[in-house]
Symmetry: C2
Subunit: 340 residues, 2 copies
DNA sequence: CCCGCATAGACATATTATGTCCCACTTACC
DNA sequence: GGTAAGTGGGACATAATATGTCTATGCGGG
């Protein structure tokens, strides 16, 4: 069921990174031998001292030879490198993909879980777990977390555990109601997240398509006003990304808007904004709360979406996403994204 | 050719130990849950703080749950533990065997390489490599190393590499000639070791069975005298262990002694001493140099011997060996030793 | 013959691991 | 119902390790 590597990833999470680093060094030395530390260090983006420690280790293991002309692989090293090349492809395929994907999309980090949530429903749980882990790592102490709706976010909520509670979190819905099922509404999800982590949440219920006067009066409501302030000062936004047509149809979208969305060739949707393939906003659900431009002010922006069918939507949204974005996705989507 | 684990052992040698430690903790928690840190720490022979760090890590990985009543496995933890149990048997079988063997023989450390040198000749090379690694780890700076003869020691000599040279070593034969082939004589091996490590060596050639007067005059020889002083001040002794009958026959042993050795049911031999199963010395080759009683004065005593047929010899010798002994052996011998 | 690149040493500093106590709390047993 | 033993967690000094930075010195090609 679990492979050796999966177990090791769980039991020594740093192992993979270290293996990759050392593999990379051997690989480079193999290519450039004989080579000196400095040039190697700049080639690999490591500081000289760190590389030096690694090199000393490799020398102790008799994998490389060091002479006054530079470093080169020993016969053991060559042998090992050869064996490693095959293994690394399988093992750290995902880690490599993460690097590649984050570079390609121009975002801070990509986290990939194995599987494809289109095919295997449990992969959504893995997405949830990975997201939870990411939140745990990134957030210390008191935090406000703004959350959107959607089935993926609901899965994330399910996977949160109370051991995060210590951190004093407050969940707020990122935007006013944008007409999903109650089950997948931001309000519901916030409540569930708060419940799972023994923390607090706020609600924000406002109808879509508010008129000007309605808006003015709603905005003056002290409760609402406070929530909005909290949203704007959130340190993390957690949001899903949806397929544009699916989302539009699932929501109570007016016939008129539906046509507009379809005609504009929208492919992606995120917190009420619809994007075409070029990343342009072709439609937005008018509601109060977090706006697209606010994202750049927020420290951690975490997008969660998986499944190969969502690749286009993710790609579209990522054209517009702030560079501080963290994407949590699955192998299915990631492969598509890298290909496309 | 190389398995994943072999590669990992080379690329991150600590990994295995850490995995074992964490596996052990999970295992114990599974057995004793709910259990507290302190009682766990004493059960496992870890200090409380170290265990605490590990426990915090495991908690971060959601493998265990911590409550005020103690620690217990989470469902993830149970699942992982189950998978680990199977894997650990294969993976760290050797590490476990090393622990067990050193405990059983009452020696400082047992190092086991996989394979059986009776069946696969290349395993002797692995023994050599492991011995070289051990020397590297244990010896810093200036050292005198006393070496005996035998084909195993010859294999060790072959595997030494010049990157050890920095350490300023001096190889000396542990004892006077005890009648082996030139190829496997201590003098020859010392020379080869020195050659392979760019270091120095001394020779000690004295005939066996010296008469009293002969002995007196030899001992006065300044050269010999110096070598003997060096032997006694060695910081490491490297010796093989042989099968008694084989060794006796291979050497130019007198008919009389051969009968004596056979009748006394000698099974093991090491640097000219013959041992029966009880570890008693039943015969010794009279020669100058290191004597059995001198071993306890020497910091590092490394015995190298592999092959399942040598198990009895190893067991016999180990009954008499100082507790500071380090045994380098192979899987074939180790299994026999643990069984018997 | 010298310049550029090489390793290796040295050392201050940042980071992490570890040993040691102590405290407040729960629980189970008397 | 009270007490004792066991629990997790906080705090902090200290040891060990990793890292950044600078320097000395050696080797080889132009």
């Amino acid at each position: 069921m679990y492979s050796l590597i999966d177990i090791q990833k769980r039991l020594l999470p740093d192992m993979l990174a270290v293996m990759q680093k050392r593999y990379g060094i051997l690989h480079y030395i193999g290519l450039m031998e004989p080579v000196g530390r400095r040039s190697l260090a700049v080639s690999m983006g490591l500081t000289e001292r760190v590389l030096r420690s690694e090199v000393e280790f490799l020398k102790d293991q008799n994998l490389i030879r060091i002479s006054s002309t530079g470093m080169s692989l020993s016969s053991d090293g060559k042998e090992l490198l050869e064996a490693l090349e095959g293994i690394m492809r399988d093992i750290s395929g995902i880690a490599v993909m993460e690097q590649e994907l984050s570079r390609k999309l121009g975002i801070r980090q990509a986290i990939i879980v194995s599987g494809n949530s289109d095919e295997s429903p449990w992969v959504k749980q893995e997405l949830g777990r990975a997201t939870a882990m990411c939140m745990k790592t990134r957030l210390k102490g008191k935090n406000i977390i703004a959350v959107t709706g959607g089935s993926t976010m609901a899965a994330v909520a399910e996977m949160l555990t109370p051991d995060l509670a210590e951190r004093d979190w407050l969940f707020v819905p990122a935007r006013g109601g944008i007409g999903e099922d109650v089950k997948n509404q931001a309000n519901t999800i916030c409540a569930k997240m708060a419940d799972h982590t023994d923390s607090r949440h706020r609600v924000l219920y406002v109808p879509d398509q508010v008129s000007r006067e309605m808006y003015e009066s709603i905005i003056k409501e002290p409760n609402i006003k406070e929530v909005i302030t909290q949203i704007k000062s959130a340190s993390m936004v957690l949001h899903g990304i949806g397929d544009a047509i699916t989302m539009a149809e699932r929501r109570k979208t007016s016939e008129e808007d539906l046509v507009k969305i379809k005609q504009a060739k929208a492919v992606g949707e995120s917190f009420g904004y619809y994007f075409n393939e070029g990343g342009e906003v072709v439609h937005k659900v008018q509601t109060i709360g977090l706006q697209l431009d606010d994202l750049s002010e927020i420290e951690h922006v975490v997008a969660v979406a998986g499944g190969s069918t969502k690749a286009k939507a993710i790609a579209a949204y990522m054209k517009r996403a702030p560079s501080s974005t963290i994407l949590v996705t699955d192998e299915g989507a990631a492969k598509q994204l890298i290909k496309g």
